[in-house]
Symmetry: none
Subunit: 209 residues, 4 copies
């Protein structure tokens, strides 16, 4: 009754728990230095002080590895209370822009999105690990705004979900396009303009910041 094996007591040498984190960190480091296209898994393994076998035992390939490495970056996003819906949105968008400005995110994120156009499992992994995971921010922001009375409570839950999706597509899309394609900084000025248009479009009335 005193089985104290962490992984359910299955036989054999247990996996080195530290290796996962080391590999993901090495992946991000390599993304910074080399970018997606020159990132080689053999090199990542070496950087992580791990054999290639070990890496392949845990991830099926470059795409999956990079999704996981990048996904961790977005978990840093927070929704601090800045007093108004507009200010809250601006705050999150600025954080999002800051993450996207980091080379390990830039280089990896778009690449796996590109790959996901031909790989359904990969797209699902991206959605689960990154997109859906961060919709929490939209939901939390809306809830807070409703508490403040800035937004009415939802009535139609289906319509509500559609709106969340639309907002997410608009926010994420605009910031990504601004940052990666237009290659202009998504700085405070731009974020203020963007937020004004978004909020006016959604509510039909100018919101105080």
């Amino acid at each position: 009754m005193h089985s104290h094996t962490p992984s359910g007591g299955r036989p054999g040498r247990p996996r080195n728990a530290a290796a996962d984190a080391a590999i993901l960190a090495a992946t991000r480091q390599a993304l910074v230095e080399l970018g997606w296209s020159k990132l080689a898994l053999g090199d990542v393994a070496t950087r992580a002080g791990v054999a290639k076998t070990t890496l392949y035992r845990r991830w099926s390939g470059k795409n999956e590895l990079v999704v996981d490495a990048v996904a961790e970056l977005f978990d840093e996003l927070r929704l601090p209370d800045r007093g108004s819906l507009a200010a809250d949105i601006e705050g999150v968008v600025l954080q999002f822009a800051a993450i996207l400005a980091r080379p390990e995110a830039k280089s990896g994120l778009m690449a796996v999105v590109a790959e996901s156009t031909r790989d359904d499992a990969l797209r699902e992994r991206i959605r689960t690990s990154i997109v859906e995971r961060q919709k929490r921010l939209v939901l939390a922001g809306r809830a807070r705004a409703q508490v403040r009375g800035e937004l009415p409570p939802e009535t139609d839950p289906e319509e509500s979900a559609r709106t969340v999706d639309l907002i997410f597509d608009m926010v994420a899309g605009a910031v990504v396009h601004r940052t990666l394609v237009s290659a202009e900084p998504a700085d405070e000025e731009w974020v203020r303009s963007f937020t004004r248009v978004l909020l006016l479009g959604l509510t039909g009335s100018q919101q105080p910041v």
Copy 2:
């Protein structure tokens, strides 16, 4: 009186003009069949009935080639007069979404954007060949709306340019995110919702469709 023969009279055998088109077409075909990551330049050359050297003489690599191959797709975009600003926008966005739904665009576009995060020349090429080139649609749409009296004439040209950029980032970004990341169709319903938010955000008043 200055003779300006197209080939400039420069010595040596002139380049085969048909090869460029054949190579770009072969590139798009290969993108459809194989996707970006399995696209091999040797294979593209074979499909185009051309030697690998000929391809490399004209493009410096996969990235540049795919930018040019994809850029041609967006030249199909038109701004037909549908009677109102909202309808015009919806029309263009639908066309844009239709192009982005094609596998040769999907697979190639995001990949070169990803690469461009580490290659300034490539990003410039994307901007020149695709982004700036298609801003004509925003400009034409606004001009037409001004003629109709739906929009006031601009006063500050700098502010005006900033707004065009913002619109472009929001439109292109949202459609790309909807199509590639959320992997939901940018169909008429979605486009109508999106256009409503955008236009309301920009003008502060609901526009008739």
Copy 3:
């Protein structure tokens, strides 16, 4: 009680021992069919049922590979006892001529000698693997002749080494030139004439055959 495992216990998957022989055999086969200048290492690898990387892991290039492939041919040389020094020499020269008449030897040997004029390491490899290795025949022949009383025992070891070298240059050189440049067969008649001149030149007296 010293354990000397063949693989020395070094880590990693051990090399496939059979591959070496397969590659060298494939090299000779390709030399016969294609000759030196059309011999392609990728093709050799394919013939040997081996990846190109495997070949390059073991040989640094075409030159080194062909030296080894050809060197094995000369290990067939034997010095059978034909009763007299003259007959022994004739026997070995005929064998040597027979090997040189084979296309895999012809085509490869001169080519690597040509390359070795600009590559000291290659020349050393040729000397070690082929030339010095076969001087055993000269030494054995002389020893046997001394036992028979046909030749006096050496006195000056340095002078003796110089003579062995001279004999080797004369024998190998003449047969090669006859076979490859004059392109006439080094048949029994020619070998008899050559041996007569050589032996008379070395000993000052006609030897019985």
Copy 4:
């Protein structure tokens, strides 16, 4: 009536006569710098200040070009009268060795011999341009020795031709082997030893030097 075209007044622009010499010189220069295997015809043409077309109009390929470039070197060989057959032979052998020591000869000669093992026309070209052309030295040496009374006049012309061939194979073969394979200098000492053996072998008696 004043047609002074060198080649019989055939129509069109006449060939540039200087180009042949320039190309052969450029070939030798490239052989010195790069060696046979890295010698590229495009590069030779550039060095000669000539278009590749011009080169190919005059030579069918690398092999033929190099044969001609190397053949010219051997035309420098002379048979100065040094007073005795042995001294004459030594003199010629030393000259031959000196030519073979030059990189453009070393690198090119063996390579074309190697190629000739699979190309009858090339072998014939080598025999005609180099080998047979230099047998004049053997013939002249023998004639002079006969005048001096060192050698008897020939009786059987067929036997005589066979002997000339044998001598040539032995001399050329030994020097080539000494120089290229053994990679030892064919210096005066070696040449003296070699000549002694050769002459004793041919005449049965030691010759005064």
